[in-house]
Amino acid sequence: MAKFDIDGGLIRKLSKLLEETDLTEIEFESEGQRIRVARNSGGYRESYIPVAETGKQAGTAEEQAEKTASAKSDHPGAITSPMVGTAYVASEPESPPFVKVGDKIREGQTLIIVEAMKTMNPVLALRDGTVKEILVENGDPVEFGEALMIIE
């Protein structure tokens, strides 16, 4: 498998395009890199819809929060969630957090863990930097591509 840097912004743009056009798959090729974004018609997206519609809090506050979150995920220093799941800011409920705002971090350091169905996935720093903002609370549900943290 060829290795290349994943362009998160591009994937998000393609995902948005998928939604707008109601297609299930888009493939994009440029400079020897090919990215295919597909959505499963029976996937999570669909199963989430009825919940949002019947949820009590579905309202403008939530829509506003969603807009802010998607703006954050476009931030160049955003660390985004690699999967749908539950985010943990510490290794155990009583442990100190992996990182705090203002911490200097090193490439490869664990920033957050995202769990889905007892599969624990540590989200690692891709480069050195400083934690500018932490956007999730311990135990928050997170979506694929959602910004978890801003690193500068």
Partner: protein, 253 residues
């Protein structure tokens, strides 16, 4: 040696008398580039772990094993293997326990015999971008003994109708079963795994209590979604999709 399991050639067995945690050992080997199929088996663990830092009591006589996998998949698909492992352990125990034993899977991947937990599974993944790099599937099966004073009542194979079960045989059976279920998943996808899981799900359609990192919820366990997440109906049209929690109690009618 007679107490070694018979394993398919795709497995590479690493047998240890004692280890901190087989999952940590397998993850360390994963980072070092060990091949897929590396199977770490320990007679006992000094720091066995469940989810969110809970201890997994690990005396000799029970099974503690972690399998390293490197499937070429998106990280987002890795949680499906949590159910592959559950079905494999379930099939293993169906073979070993008497036919009359009532065996179920408690969301997402605990194995329950007559309402008592007999096995637990915990996975750890590592990704390169959005692709999975490696995945460790850790399993613990109570064979000779089960812990007291656990939040959920526990049992073992010896206490549940298989008094002569041995760790090496159980590991061998599991390895066979896992290979078969993994082949189904590779060839046919998650749907048949999900179907089998739902067929033997513990408290499906019943009221359950689940403890997430933030709250304890009680509701009806309606279904799992296409990704395996638990759908809990709290009543009044409020349904939650839960990706991480402990199912701590069931209220079968």
């Amino acid at each position: 040696m007679e107490d070694n399991p018979k394993l398919d050639e795709l497995y590479h067995l690493l047998k240890l008398d004692v280890v901190g945690s087989t999952n940590e050992e397998a993850a360390r080997l994963g980072r070092e580039g060990a091949p897929a199929g590396t199977l770490v088996w320990a007679k006992s663990q000094t720091g066995g772990k469940g989810r969110r830092g809970r201890d997994w009591v690990s005396p000799g006589g029970n099974l503690y094993a972690s399998l390293l996998l490197r499937p070429n998949i998106l990280l987002a698909q890795a949680p499906e293997i949590s159910f592959v492992a559950a079905v494999a352990v379930f099939n293993t125990l169906c073979f070993i326990l008497p036919q009359t034993a009532r065996i179920h899977m408690k969301w997402p991947n605990d194995i329950i015999v007559e309402g008592h937990k007999i096995a637990g599974i915990l996975l750890e993944s590592s990704a390169q971008g959005e692709m999975l790099d490696w995945l460790v599937v850790g399993i613990g099966i109570n064979i000779a003994s089960s812990p007291d004073k656990t939040p959920f009542p526990a049992t073992s194979l010896h206490e549940s109708g298989a008094p002569h079960a041995k760790t090496a045989d159980v590991l061998g059976r599991f390895a066979d079963s896992f290979k078969r279920v993994m082949e189904t998943w590779t060839n046919e996808g998650f749907a048949p795994i999900r179907k089998r899981w739902l067929e033997f799900a513990w408290c499906l359609g019943e009221e359950i209590e689940v403890k997430t990192e933030q709250e304890t919820l009680r509701g009806v366990f309606c279904d799992i979604d296409p990704s395996g997440a638990l759908i809990l109906d709290l009543g009044g049209g409020d349904k939650r999709i839960i990706t991480a929690a402990n199912v701590i109690r069931g209220f079968p009618t």
